[in-house]
Symmetry: C2
Subunit: 419 residues, 2 copies
């Protein structure tokens, strides 16, 4: 009969969501038992599932993708909440130097590897390969630091600050390189004015958003604290996170930059009115939401890995070379830290993962054409994916080891309950 | 330039989500100030937004739809968690009688109204109109009861138990009626065996799921409590909710039936191991998630209302008649309650809203054809929608008034922290 007509369209979706949740927790459990951060287990669970045909509908489900994207925003928002603008400014110069070094050196090395191994593809492709190496994936490092309870350490602030800045710088490099490619494809070249516009937007957003937030956030929460409906604090907080994500996206930056900025400007003095009347703080309220949503991002990133790419020797050589310069390039960051009590090695390691941003760059490269051929061919794409996977997989254990080695006690901040 | 290429696809989505969140809380606030449950304000905010063209992309966003569908599952799961199988069985017979009365009477009245006002459309259409009147929307009533802190009262258990049962009965009626229509459209008729199969599946699911859950849930949680990864309790709980939703959908019942059943079988003795080691209980962990997700359902239901349908007098007459019998028909439920200390009027009122199930029925009717014409024409659809809206809007204030009038203290259960 037409029983099928009654099957709610949500049915397949919730099955997929349940599968991802269970896989994430089983993978996370395995990692925790092996004394690794749970995030590595979630990624690995995703890699295993991604290479079993049976799970293909899960990986292709737009609902899983949506929750993963929301999850990474919530994660960056949470990480931002753990820091304040004041604390970021204290590490600001260090973070800026680390970020600039961590963009310039890998970009140059990536370009060089391209020129060395695939000279026939020309400078635009080489520049694009360099661009994919620029941006650190804040998501992975933030999660590892959170799993280790190290988010409040100075190293963590420098890494996260630098990662956010090099995200912006990476996006600027990408925008400039792709702009040049589009112009070259049309037989012209990129104007200085256009480069200036891209640069101006990025700087304007961060400074503007932070300044606006610092002025507006306290007023907004004072207003919101007068509302009597249930769940106002959480809804307002999440809405601000989403609005900032949209704003940063709308001006051409990554949405995660906005989510992090939103977290940065919200401090718990702003919503003390809520806590005073017995409600939970924003961090407490976000905790269950992030523990449910964030694993979707890491499992999905794992699922998108095609292990068959490892079978092609040429891809393997290029992937290996890219991975080596990706890791080595970010170690240059540690040279940019001049303050002594800071653990330089942890900073270099913390900057390694390329994660989601590298994948986004590679997928943009696959859609750009020059003379009718895509800038990033399937083979190059596989090489970039391998680089992203290895840098991502290598960071959690390395950072765990490195932070444990530098046995300084975690610096306590004045910023309310730590998790 | 190609700045557009960098706009994260999540950007538009998060803007829409932020808009819904803000609208929900503003609407909820207005309702609370008018001493109404917040849900009425969320619905009204949706109705207002749904009739402003500017918000059309929000209403059409599949992400909003997804979160709304997940929200109603989480809501029913939460409501189920507040009751135990034992408590449900105590009100079981009363709930069954209420449910059967609340399906038979509105079905007959709906059929009669169809035969009276639109006799030319034939008995299949009349039967279908009757079917749309069968199922109470547990979502609305559950939320009102929750907002009023009355979920633990005997009336609440009877209403929710009956609503779940009449959801099943309504789906059975719908399956039988649509089966008959499909058969008639093909020139044959529905066999007794097919009707038996539909009935058997429904009974089998509820009894089977409950029995299985009662046996398996404690073992599953004892196993899960040995895991050390973060957020295991919440992930396992939500995964069970999703799996039951999928299961009930897979056998042709509404997904919400499974979500409610999942909540019913999970009792806090099952996860005492988690709470003993200092974690929050499942209800506490779900609270922020539901306060964020559930408003999406109510705002979206409001947004799907087209106020222009009210402009056609013929639609208005049919809508008015359907609404009257929808409300009057469920008052017959109170006659099925023979125990005296129970507030009968509240039960009759609590069964009124048709909400999501009525809308789902109407949309299925719009896709069924008989002799080349849809069973539910656009005009009939509008009439059903108006009935759904009015029954939905009328219930919160009526139930608030009715429960306040019967001033019996809320029965305290032994079931842990109430909200």
């Amino acid at each position: 009969m037409n029983g099928a007509a009654h099957i709610d369209p949500i049915a397949a979706v919730v099955l997929h969501l349940a599968i991802v949740l269970v896989a994430a927790k089983l993978g996370g459990e395995l990692a925790v038992r092996l004394r690794q951060p749970a995030v590595l287990g979630e990624l690995s669970a995703g890699v295993v599932m991604g290479n079993i045909v049976w799970f293909d509908p899960v990986a292709a489900d737009p609902a899983v993708d949506l929750l993963a994207r929301l999850g990474v925003l919530i994660l960056l928002f949470e990480v931002g909440l753990e820091s304040t603008v004041k604390q970021m400014l204290q590490v600001g110069l260090a973070a800026l130097l680390v970020a600039v070094t961590g963009v310039v050196v890998p970009f140059a090395l990536g370009w060089g590897i391209g020129a060395l191994l695939v000279p026939e593809l020309g400078p635009y492709v080489h520049a694009f390969l360099g661009a994919t190496l620029c941006a650190t994936s804040v998501g992975i490092t933030a999660r590892v630091l959170k799993d280790l309870g190290a988010s409040q350490r100075d190293e963590a602030r420098i890494i996260l600050g630098a990662a956010v800045i090099d995200d912006v710088l990476g996006l600027v490099v990408l925008a400039v390189v792709s702009g040049a490619i589009v112009a070259a494809d049309q037989g012209s070249s990129l104007s200085v004015g256009e480069i200036g516009l891209i640069l101006g937007k990025a700087a304007g957003f961060l400074v503007g958003a932070l300044a606006l937030g610092v002025v507006l956030a306290p007023r907004l929460f004072r207003l919101a604290s007068r509302l009597r409906a249930r769940g106002v604090l959480l809804a307002v907080g999440v809405a601000i996170c989403f609005l900032f994500s949209w704003l940063s996206s709308a001006i051409g930056l990554a949405a995660i930059v906005g989510a992090f900025a939103a977290g940065l400007i919200l401090e718990d003095v702003h919503y003390r009115d809520f806590v005073d009347r017995g409600e939970h703080g924003l961090e407490d309220l976000l905790e269950p939401i992030s523990s449910l949503l964030v694993p979707f991002f890491f499992v999905l990133m794992g699922m998108r890995t095609d292990l068959r790419a490892f079978a092609d020797p040429e891809v393997l050589v290029l992937a290996g070379a890219l991975t080596v310069v990706a890791i080595a390039g970010k170690q240059a960051c540690s040279l940019a830290v001049w303050r002594r009590p800071i653990d330089r090695l942890s900073i270099g390691i913390g900057m390694i993962p390329r994660g989601e941003v590298g994948l986004i760059f590679a997928s943009i490269g696959a859609t750009l054409t020059l003379g009718g051929r895509p800038i990033i061919s399937p083979a190059l794409y596989s090489a970039v994916v391998v680089m992203v996977i290895v840098t991502t997989l290598v960071t959690p254990p390395a950072l765990t080891w490195s932070l444990a080695r530098s046995s300084r006690p975690a610096a306590q901040s004045s910023q309310g309950p730590s998790q």
